[in-house]
Subunit: 338 residues, 2 copies
């Protein structure tokens, strides 16, 4: 594979000049520049980014660690991060933590060794010593979607409280009083916050939520199914079930159809996290939609701010209710957009 030295020889200039051409240094004559370009084409030269990174101490690479790429929420997040990064000339390495702290740490370690310029992490529940260490400034770090209490790092996330309040109002307006909520692990900021927002909203509407209606899942389909089954088997089952993420909603659909029940006639269903197919099935599923792509884009901008020495500010964007038919027919269909 041709090196800069070969190009220099071919063009009859020094390696410094070739390097200048590569980096668009204006002090190179038009004529020399052309000779160098010709030489590069003739040799099919491809600059070695590894060598360049070693010297410049910059890889133009960002690391992104997400929960699971199979979750459409994270897929959309990853897609947005990649698009925005590419626009800025950066490459992204994605790591699937699979919601496991050890695997998250594996990627943190690998990405640090590869000297990524910055790290975007959707942290798992536990604060690991490694993440704690990195947060003290070893590399630029931004938390995405979730935060970790006790760790001071800029973060980009959605706030669902207003939307959750709207959802409770929506359910209330449709006549539902017995509402259950299946949250994510309480160790995750997203799990905790959604639970609190739900209980607050319920209280404001004068709804009494018995303890057995507030359940803790793990943001995976299996727990959604199991917990929904348990809820439906209660002596007094809830009239509406609100799942804390789209995967648990998937599981809930199973539990409901297993029992031969129909949505929304027999039980109402809503989900945090809107995903495309919610809008294409029957009945279409009411959900709280996060500005997922925008979160990804903003996260990239925040970390680029850190990289360029600008002040990095945390970002909180509002989620919004997308009322469809899975909680009952409202007559005036509020919104259907996907």
């Amino acid at each position: 594979m041709a090196r800069i030295k070969d190009v220099a020889a071919q063009a009859g200039v020094s390696v410094a000049t070739v390097s200048r051409v590569l980096n668009d240094n204006p002090s190179v004559t038009e004529e020399t520049r052309n000779r160098v370009h010709d030489a590069m084409a003739a040799l099919n030269y491809r600059p070695n980014a590894v060598a360049r990174s070693l010297r410049t101490e910059a890889t133009r690479t960002l690391g992104l660690i997400i929960g699971d790429i199979l979750n459409p929420f994270f897929a959309e997040l990853a897609r947005a991060v990649e698009d925005e990064a590419r626009a800025a000339g950066y490459t992204v390495i994605i790591g699937n933590a699979d919601e496991r702290a050890d695997q998250q740490d594996h990627y943190v370690r690998t990405l640090l060794e590869r000297r990524v310029d910055g790290l975007l992490i959707c942290p798992t529940a536990e604060v690991t010593p490694l993440v704690e260490e990195v947060s003290r400034g070893e590399r630029p770090l931004v938390f995405l979607d979730r935060t970790l209490s006790g760790i001071e790092v800029p973060s980009v996330r959605a706030d669902g409280s207003t939307a959750i309040a709207e959802l409770v109002a929506h359910l209330r307006a449709l006549g539902h009083r017995r509402i259950a909520f299946v949250s994510g692990p309480s160790t995750l900021s997203t799990g905790r916050e959604r639970t609190e927002a739900f209980l607050r909203a319920a209280a404001e509407h004068g709804l009494e939520i018995p303890q057995e209606y507030v359940r803790v899942g793990d943001f995976r389909a299996g727990s959604g199914q199991r917990i929904t089954s348990e809820l439906l088997d209660l002596p007094e089952p809830p009239q509406a079930i609100f799942l804390g993420d789209n995967l648990m909603a998937l599981g809930a659909l199973d539990a409901i159809s297993e029992r031969g029940l129909e949505i929304p006639r027999d039980v109402a269903l809503a989900s945090f996290d809107d995903v495309p197919w919610f809008n294409h099935v029957h009945p279409r599923i009411t959900a709280i939609s996060q500005p997922t792509a925008e979160l990804g884009r903003r996260a990239v901008r925040v970390i680029l701010d850190v990289l360029t020495g600008r002040a990095a500010e945390s970002v909180v964007l509002p989620a919004r209710l997308v009322a469809r038919e899975s909680c009952g027919e409202t007559g005036t269909r509020k919104e259907g957009g996907s």
Copy 2:
């Protein structure tokens, strides 16, 4: 950030010895090894993979270029590739070509500059000069999911012909004779092959498929919706519609419910590409399931074979029919697994 030189000084040895410890070279004394480990811990040393790669000419990184991470099929593929690569000590850089040749080439270029050890590509329709050039041996290359005619490269893909024949038989058994097929672009091997398999199977069942029932989509939701609408508006609409991928099936669902039609009573629906939610909606959607994760894993193994100088053989795995209820009730439910 501590370098190998600092570790050497701290441990009172030379950089060569530290390097030997890093690479598990057995010729280092137990005692020296411990001293070096202590020094690394004390300095919080992280080996610089960039420097290592420059010297060893290996990055232990694979590049993966897919159509779109938002498509669950590609997400699952990417996930499997990453898992298998991680198990072998490799990192994966994923590029979203967004089904555009120019963006595919952008990633090919970037990944080559970063000196990935191998390239896994789900090629877009066109044969670009760049891909053609790489295929001549510049870097190990394996095609995934799709192939490109005229380019000799090991490939890993699924063969759907048997499953498509089964699907046609299934539809036939349920009484459907007028079956439409919406394929992908004919420039893609997956588009062509599925169309041919469908027409062959239909002919074998003595079904006459009018030309207007065989349509070309673009593997995106919009075209599925548009084409399904057109099919349903025909003077003699099809009794069953078979979509060439899951996104077009999503669009078809819209077109059908827009018209107030019900599946499978008014029209039967089937899709190539099984995705998790097909099994959780009502009616559950009949689909042809590809061994997606296995494709991803095998692709990694093939490219590792190339890297280690072993003979690399192309892999073709069979897809299979997962008959559910969207084509009509069979009485004996054939299979429901997800």
